[in-house]
């Protein structure tokens, strides 16, 4: 017996829309089972995990802080994936963006000018874009697989950051802690509202999402992305260059990941340290797919995934489960999103093969 996936003649519109919600429900169900197996009350755990963080103003601010990088990276990745380029290395581009953007405040802590913040943001974007340019170059020149190269570059970026903050960038007055001096006040991304910590990165995320939604929906560039993503040959017929699209998609997603990186360092942390991300670059892949690669959908899915981070912290504090649970939730969610999507397009068919045929193959 073997299992085959058979393409459905028609794709149900209803289920295409429901698919992300269905995946969310399944994740909750399996999450509840997991909590039950861990010996906790499933309902209470889910409440602590997914509801409590939404009840207070300060935690809503935290939600915006966590959602901002996920959305920023996620919308860039969505465009990238739509064009059939598989950038898996946003975490690395995030890291390099954070490093490149931090050059000014780390090396010139005495410089006090309003221009420093815009420069940092631009340099952060440039750093992320350049770092994403490496897999783009390798792909266009040597036809390498960008999935592998971009992923491997993540680890290089993380080790480079580690080396920087333990070595040349370490704060001499920092009691030997592996971190840089705190940024001067002009280099800190300001808060959006007086009520809490959430800073301008969330605004950048919303602006980026709306801009890319507009591009994909109304601009020739967006059309080019979809055409080349679906058929390179048709794209060539249209006069679009697949090679240039590799560059565009990789640089765009790299720049947005870099912007997320410098915003996080400048707005949330205030200095550079060995660990600056709880895996935003990887979680953003889930965000992109849960949002169906649609920039507006990604705003919603970014908030959902940010909630799993917050819930993980809350659950750790109040019911004493490891914050690794949030990774489990993210994994479950990605698994169910992809399988729901697959089952919308295909149906499962069990094939009981003919005994004689099996013999004949011998």
């Amino acid at each position: 017996m073997r299992i085959e996936l058979e393409k459905r003649p028609r794709v149900s519109l209803l289920f295409s829309v429901l698919s992300p919600l269905l995946a969310l429900v399944l994740t909750l169900v399996f999450g509840a089972i997991m909590f039950w197996l861990l010996g906790k009350s499933p309902l209470n755990a889910l409440y602590v995990y997914f509801v409590e963080p939404l009840l207070e103003v300060w935690s809503l601010h935290e939600l915006a802080i966590k959602a901002a990088p996920l959305i920023l990276i996620g919308v860039g990745l969505a465009v990238c994936y739509r064009s059939n380029n598989w950038n898996i290395g946003a975490e690395g581009q995030f890291t390099i963006g954070a490093i490149a953007g931090s050059i000014l405040p780390v090396l010139y802590p005495q410089w006090h000018s309003w221009i420093i913040l815009p420069l940092m943001l631009v340099m952060g974007m440039a750093g992320g874009a350049l770092y994403a340019g490496i897999p783009a170059l390798l792909k266009t020149r040597f036809n390498t697989n960008e999935i592998l190269t971009s992923l491997m570059l993540v680890y290089i970026a993380q080790l480079f950051l580690d080396w920087l903050v333990r070595g040349p960038w370490r704060d001499p007055q920092g009691y030997n802690f592996p971190q840089t001096k705190s940024f001067q006040v002009e280099a800190v991304l300001p808060e959006m509202l007086a009520s809490g910590r959430a800073h301008w990165a969330f605004v950048f995320a919303i602006v980026a999402a709306v801009a890319l939604w507009f591009m994909m929906r109304f601009m020739l560039k967006g059309f080019e992305v979809s055409v080349l993503g679906q058929s390179e040959r048709a794209g060539r017929f249209a006069g679009f260059s697949a090679r240039r699209m590799v560059w565009f998609a990789m640089l765009l997603s790299g720049a947005l990941a870099g912007l997320a990186g410098i915003s996080e360092v400048s707005g949330s942390i205030g200095h550079v340290q060995p660990s600056i991300s709880p895996g935003y670059g990887f979680t953003a892949i889930i965000v992109a797919f849960l949002g169906r690669l649609n920039p507006l959908g990604i705003v919603a899915s970014g908030l959902v995934l940010a909630l799993t981070y917050l819930g993980g912290e809350a659950a750790q504090l109040s019911i004493g489960i490891s914050d690794k649970v949030s990774r489990v939730f993210q994994g479950l969610l990605l698994f169910f999103v992809l399988s729901c999507d697959t089952l919308i397009h295909y149906r499962i068919k069990l094939v009981f093969s003919d005994v004689r045929t099996v013999e004949a193959k011998g």
Binding site: Q230, A238, G239, T357, A360
Partner: protein
């Protein structure tokens, strides 16, 4: 294995009234065929004649809609390739199914019983390949092998199952003449052992040289069964392309105008191992002319289209001129801006994106040439969906495209309707040069005649039209001049009236290389 191959013996395989319907289209229509033990039997026919469908049914890949298959006199149902192999039928496909990263031995092992050790398979494969004059190193990686060597793997793989009948689908289409000679020696060895070979080809010389009997297919029907050694290439060609000469309906000829498309000395090296290199192509098409380029598929048609359309620009800027302007290095949109239009052969994924609506597929071909009408917002290039949708509606009305819904996705249209839309998309611009590859391939008769009429009308209105086609009836219907492409070389064009189907059939089969056929010798 019997060595007797007398006429009285029961045929190894016989096929009675075998029919395969795809929808209402009969790819194979009541085919009768006998293969005797120990003979090399040719299956001749043009592309689309139904050869592949027939052998797929014999190998269990497709199930016949009607008719029966007799194996050694017994009726059989061949439900799967596994069952075909169990009966003793081996098949070597035209396109190989090999894993490049694996070795020869590993590739062979994949198709055999998983219980047999790799070492034993490698040994057997090596000795077998030596015995049949097909030297193969079982430890070599497939990626390092030539096309001919790869084919040997497929043949050895088939032979290891000790088949009584081996089916070879266009085996020489990827081989050099020397490699082909070696293959023929192997086939003779197989025949001497009493095995039968079903040899599919459209190369008449080869068939005459090695085959004992031939069955000729045309439009899914058997049009002849003969001993190819008794036939002339001309008589074989007549069976292949049919003797019914299509009448040319062209009321009133247009005096040719200025040269719109000029190709001189166009040589393009092959991009991939399966591609054909173009050699010294020369074309001149004037306004009001339809140049038809005939030829059997895989002789350089798509490569020629790529070079003419600019999808793959060529190194020499002077090699292609559109309306007098050198455009060899110019891309497809630059050529469109000069007034050229293009219709590629493959509808899905080349001429159109199947999952996109018709309006998007209109923009696909005309985003540059109709920038003013379809885009706004200057640098931002905002797509004007309304303008494009109404243009798509106009095209659908002009070409009578039948569709469900206002703006359905391209993939939901039938082949004929989508092709009408794709051709209409270009005609709507009134291109001064139109290059079309296989305009009516897989299109129903009604749509085909509509498209052909549109091409004739376009030329009459003063455009230059190039039609690359395998369908000789179509060529005679639309062409004012006809040239033949074979192995990447293009013959001189001849006025349509001066050519017969038979002459073209010969030129298509590559016979014009042979000096033994005087009437075709000047076709160069």
């Amino acid at each position: 294995m019997t060595l007797s191959a007398g006429p009285a013996t029961v045929p190894l395989l016989s096929v009675e009234g075998l029919t395969k319907l795809f929808g209402s289209f009969a790819a194979c229509n009541a085919i009768d065929l006998d293969i005797a033990p120990g003979e090399i039997h040719a299956l001749l026919g043009e592309n689309g004649a139904g050869k592949s469908t027939l052998v797929k049914m014999l190998f269990g890949v497709l199930q016949p809609s009607a008719g029966r298959i007799l194996w050694e006199g017994q009726p059989v149902t061949i439900a799967s390739p596994g069952e075909a192999r169990r009966l003793g039928i081996g098949m070597v496909f035209q396109h190989f199914s090999l894993f490049e990263a694996l070795t020869v031995g590993e590739n062979i092992a994949l198709s055999l019983d998983p219980k047999i050790s790799l070492a034993r398979i490698s040994d057997e494969a090596a000795s077998l390949s030596k015995a049949y004059g097909l030297p193969l190193d079982p430890n070599a990686h497939v990626a390092d092998l030539s096309v001919g060597e790869r084919q040997r793997i497929e043949i050895v793989r088939a032979l290891l199952q000790n088949p009584k009948l081996i089916i070879l689908d266009e085996p020489t289409s990827v081989l050099t003449p020397q490699e082909a000679d070696r293959l023929f020696e192997t086939l003779f060895k197989l025949k001497a052992e009493g095995r039968s070979v079903l040899y599919i080809s459209h190369r008449l010389e080869e068939v005459r040289r090695i085959c004992d009997r031939a069955t000729v297919l045309r439009h899914g029907k058997v049009t002849g069964a003969c001993d190819p050694k008794q036939e002339t290439p001309a008589s074989l060609a007549r069976m292949m392309v049919g003797s019914d000469v299509a009448e040319v309906h062209r009321d009133g000829s247009v005096a040719p105008g200025d040269i719109r498309l000029e190709v001189s000395n166009l040589s393009v090296p092959a991009r991939t191992p399966f591609a054909i290199s173009l050699r010294n192509i020369a074309i001149k098409v004037r306004a009001g002319e339809v140049l038809a380029i005939a030829g059997v598929a895989g002789n350089g048609q798509s490569e020629l289209f790529d070079a003419l359309s600019g999808e793959y620009p060529v190194a020499d800027d002077e090699a292609v001129r559109i309306r007098g302007k050198a455009v060899g290095k110019t891309g497809i949109n630059g050529r469109r801006l000069l007034g050229a239009g293009f219709v590629p052969e493959e509808r899905h994924g080349h001429a159109a994106v199947s999952a996109m609506p018709l309006s998007d597929n209109l923009l696909l071909a005309r985003s540059r040439s109709d920038k003013k009408a379809f885009l706004s917002g200057g640098f931002a290039s905002i797509v004007r969906h309304d303008a494009i949708r109404s243009a798509a509606r106009r095209i659908c009305e002009a070409m009578d495209v039948r569709k469900s819904g206002e703006d359905p996705i391209a993939g939901s249209l039938s082949g004929g309707n989508l092709q009408k839309f794709i051709v209409g998309r270009e005609l709507d611009r009134q291109p001064s040069v139109l290059i079309v590859n296989q305009p009516t391939w897989g299109v129903d008769a009604g749509a085909a005649s509509r498209i052909r009429q549109a091409l004739i009308d376009l030329a009459k209105a003063g455009s230059a039209v190039v039609v690359i086609s395998q369908d000789l009836d179509e060529i005679f219907e639309v062409a004012t001049n006809i040239a033949v492409i074979s192995e990447g070389r293009l013959s001189e064009p001849h006025p349509a009236g001066s050519l017969t189907l038979e002459r073209i059939g010969l030129m298509m089969g590559g016979i014009h290389d042979s000096h033994s056929i005087p009437e075709a010798a000047h076709a160069h």
